[in-house]
């Protein structure tokens, strides 16, 4: 580890904290449906969309209607992308004459982008036409992100409203978030990325002859526009197979820093927005503090492992950090930080290959996802996942002191606790269940590239990434088979919507309750005691169930690595 590495990490968290309140303020304006300076430009688009679609933006929707409309919209988007991917060979901008995607791959990809996972079972530059990238995928990068933030708004309203039946209007939330936040930031970021070297062209490739006279074809395309929203919307689906490790997606250490900030800035801003929505910004800072503690601990472990390097290679005479799968312009520190950030959020973009991390360095991204990606988390999904843990935390605190638990002025009762547990239980159930099945079926065992415990880690990582809607991979796994495409497609769908529906039910139930003012006997949910309790609940409820699987995978791998045992 170096001073330079730690300076980077500290600077990153400093800038992120500085961005939290401005982003939170902007999000709060959208949460309340207030007019922003951008309305002058984009307001007509918004009202035009409402008129064409027959939407009354002021119609209040019950949690059921909010949920049904959200699911139907996402299903329509998914069908749209499925058709484009299947039919890309008859559509324009297919200069490389790629075939249509096979059914299982198109299904997997459509689910993957709809659920904000962006698991990539395909290699972009050798499978997808430019039209498929733009029209089929970029649109999901916006709308799955907007859906996530809209859902977080709905839950905030559940906490903030008193004896109300409505949670807001899904269409209005989704449209405003897209038009006044995601699109304008993406426009600015995309152009900045181009200035730094990210290509943006409709040409599919450029042919060159190298200095030694070898022909080299460079895949190109409209990369910058996808790259900007890929990070901002915590989607993570890269234009190229190597994702943000590819120099065209992430050309410099500066773009790398910007990409990491983009991943977390909306998620951290939403914690502030939550505090403001419930009338006490300290509530938001308390949540962010708990998240930050876990994030920094993860970075410390991952960075120290990667900087220390792989003893197997040291033994062969190679000095220094673990550089397998890493880019020189980033080095160990920026790669480790990126890995932790991208899995703390549900982004899944990678600037280094997680499969080639040291055993414990690779454990941290895996564990981050298994916690449910609530350490800041994906846009919207992180905060609504975390608030479910907060409900369980006040419940546990209530049990200890023998009082009805309250959180931000709402009594937490049996219904909310049951629904929260239901939502959180989806993760271990599906991740461990599907990993277990795949570890015995021949079709599952055909997947891993690596042998020994690391092969098991590859399977575990895939289902963890799928259910948690992350999308990063231990990419050695050959996942573009009907078996894995199908299983992971189902896993991603369950991981997204089987958390969302109970979560919206909680929101509906909370909105209907009356306000319960805090008394001297209420458990304070702003101080260090609360932050400690939150961290404890997340680690115990979210993490403990996965420890045996981690022992079989990365921990066994680590012990083998120290002994120099190879597979």
């Amino acid at each position: 580890m170096t001073m330079q590495g730690w300076t980077l990490i500290i600077a990153f968290f400093g800038v992120l904290l500085a961005l939290t309140k401005p982003m939170g303020l902007w999000l709060h304006a959208l949460y309340e449906g207030r007019r922003t300076p951008l309305h002058a430009l984009l307001g007509p688009v918004e009202t035009g969309f409402y008129r064409l679609a027959g939407i009354d933006p002021n119609e209040e929707q019950s949690w059921r209607r909010y949920a049904v409309h959200m699911i139907v919209f996402n299903a329509a988007l998914m069908a749209f992308t499925y058709l484009i991917l299947r039919a890309q060979y008859v559509l324009p901008l297919d200069q490389n004459h790629f075939a249509g995607m096979p059914e299982h791959l198109a299904f997997n990809t459509a689910v993957s982008f709809t659920t904000n996972t962006n698991w990539q079972s395909y290699a972009g530059e050798s499978t997808l036409s430019n039209l498929s990238q733009m029209l089929g995928l970029t649109i999901h990068n916006f709308l799955s992100a907007a859906t996530g933030i809209a859902l977080a708004f709905a839950l905030f309203r559940g906490f903030a409203r008193r004896e109300a039946s409505g949670l807001g209007n899904f269409w209005a939330d989704c449209t405003r978030i897209t038009l006044y936040l995601l699109l304008p930031v993406s426009v600015v970021v995309a152009l900045a990325f181009v200035a730094c070297g990210v290509p943006q062209t409709l040409a599919a490739s450029a042919d060159i002859t190298t200095l030694e006279g070898v022909k080299q074809t460079l895949a190109l395309g409209p990369v910058a526009t996808q790259e900007a929203i890929k990070m901002l919307g915590t989607n993570g689906g890269g234009f190229f197979n190597a994702n943000s490790a590819h120099p065209f997606e992430n050309p410099t250490a500066l773009t790398n820093f910007a990409q990491m900030l983009l991943i977390l800035c909306i998620g951290s801003g939403l914690t502030w927005t939550f505090g403001r929505a419930v009338g006490n910004t300290k509530q938001g800072w308390a949540i962010l503090s708990a998240m930050m503690l876990m994030l920094i601990a993860g970075v410390a472990v991952c960075y120290s492992q990667e900087a220390a390097g792989n003893p197997v290679l040291h033994h062969l005479g190679v000095a220094g950090a673990n550089m397998e799968g890493k880019e020189v312009r980033f080095g160990a520190a920026a790669s480790a930080l990126f890995a932790v950030v991208t899995t703390a959020a549900s982004c899944g973009a990678v600037d280094a290959m997680h499969d080639s991390f040291t055993a414990l360095g690779g454990l941290i991204p895996l564990f981050n996802m298994q916690l449910g990606e609530v350490v800041i988390g994906g846009v919207g999904a992180g905060i609504y996942g975390f608030l479910l843990f907060a409900i369980l935390a006040v419940f546990v605190a209530g049990l200890m002191v023998g009082r009805t638990p309250e959180y931000v002025g709402k009594k937490i009762e049996a219904r909310e606790v049951k629904l929260s547990v239901l939502a959180i239980a989806v993760l271990p159930l599906v991740i461990l269940g599907m990993t277990a099945i795949s570890s015995v079926l021949p079709a599952g065992l055909a997947g891993p590239l690596n042998k020994g415990p690391h092969g098991f880690s590859e399977i575990l990582y895939a289902f963890t990434s799928g259910v948690a809607n992350n999308g990063s991979a231990f990419a050695g796994l050959t996942a573009s088979t009907p078996y894995y495409d199908g299983m992971l497609g189902v896993a991603m769908w369950l991981g997204r919507f089987f958390i969302i529906v109970p979560m919206l039910a909680v929101a509906g139930s909370l909105a209907a309750k009356k306000y319960t003012p805090a008394t001297a006997g209420s458990f304070p949910t702003t101080g260090p005691l609360w932050i400690g309790l939150l961290v404890g609940i997340v680690l115990i409820l979210g993490g403990l169930t996965f420890l045996p699987s981690l022992a079989l995978g990365p921990i066994a791998d680590h012990l083998a690595m120290i002994r120099g045992q190879l597979f």
Binding site: L135, Q200, L218, P247, K326, A334, H454
Partner: protein, 196 residues
Amino acid sequence: MAKDFTTSLRPALTLTAGFALLLGIGYPLAITGVAQAVFPHQANGSLVTDRAGKAIGSELIGQTFASDRYFHPRPSAAGKGYDGTASSGSNYGPTSQPLADRVKGDVTKLSAEAPGRAIPADLATASGSGLDPDISPDAAFFQVDRVAKARGLGVDAVRQLVRRSIDAPAIAFLGDRHVNVLALNRALDAMGHPAP
């Protein structure tokens, strides 16, 4: 519930179409237009041309160098090596036998070049993209003796050239210092070939 479903259809279908036009067509095409006008070099892949105007590479994408007269890049897992249409890392885990075998082979070759010296990590490991255009300054200095000998140049002159070719990130702590292999090799060619 049924009413919730029926009322959702028109907005769902209309907004799918509307957003597809705005976000899937309008946004990328508009940015492409601006990017091509304002940053044509970067927008088209930061290509490097020789004096005749022929494209010989990209500033950002590594390429294969096999001759002793050139500095070598890192091992690559992209296709058969530096395949610009098949970016990929090796994805070998830390306890992978194939990884150890590959590294052992590279170490044997590299040790012959500079006996007794520790091998810089990046020179014996494959990058994440397989297209890494850079090597570490250590990895460049490691190769100086070989390149100087093959070209009949003074070791100090080549070392000077490497020193001048080191790039740092825009803000020093954001990433690691590195040397762009293509730029270094072009500078090397520009030094000329003194008679042996």
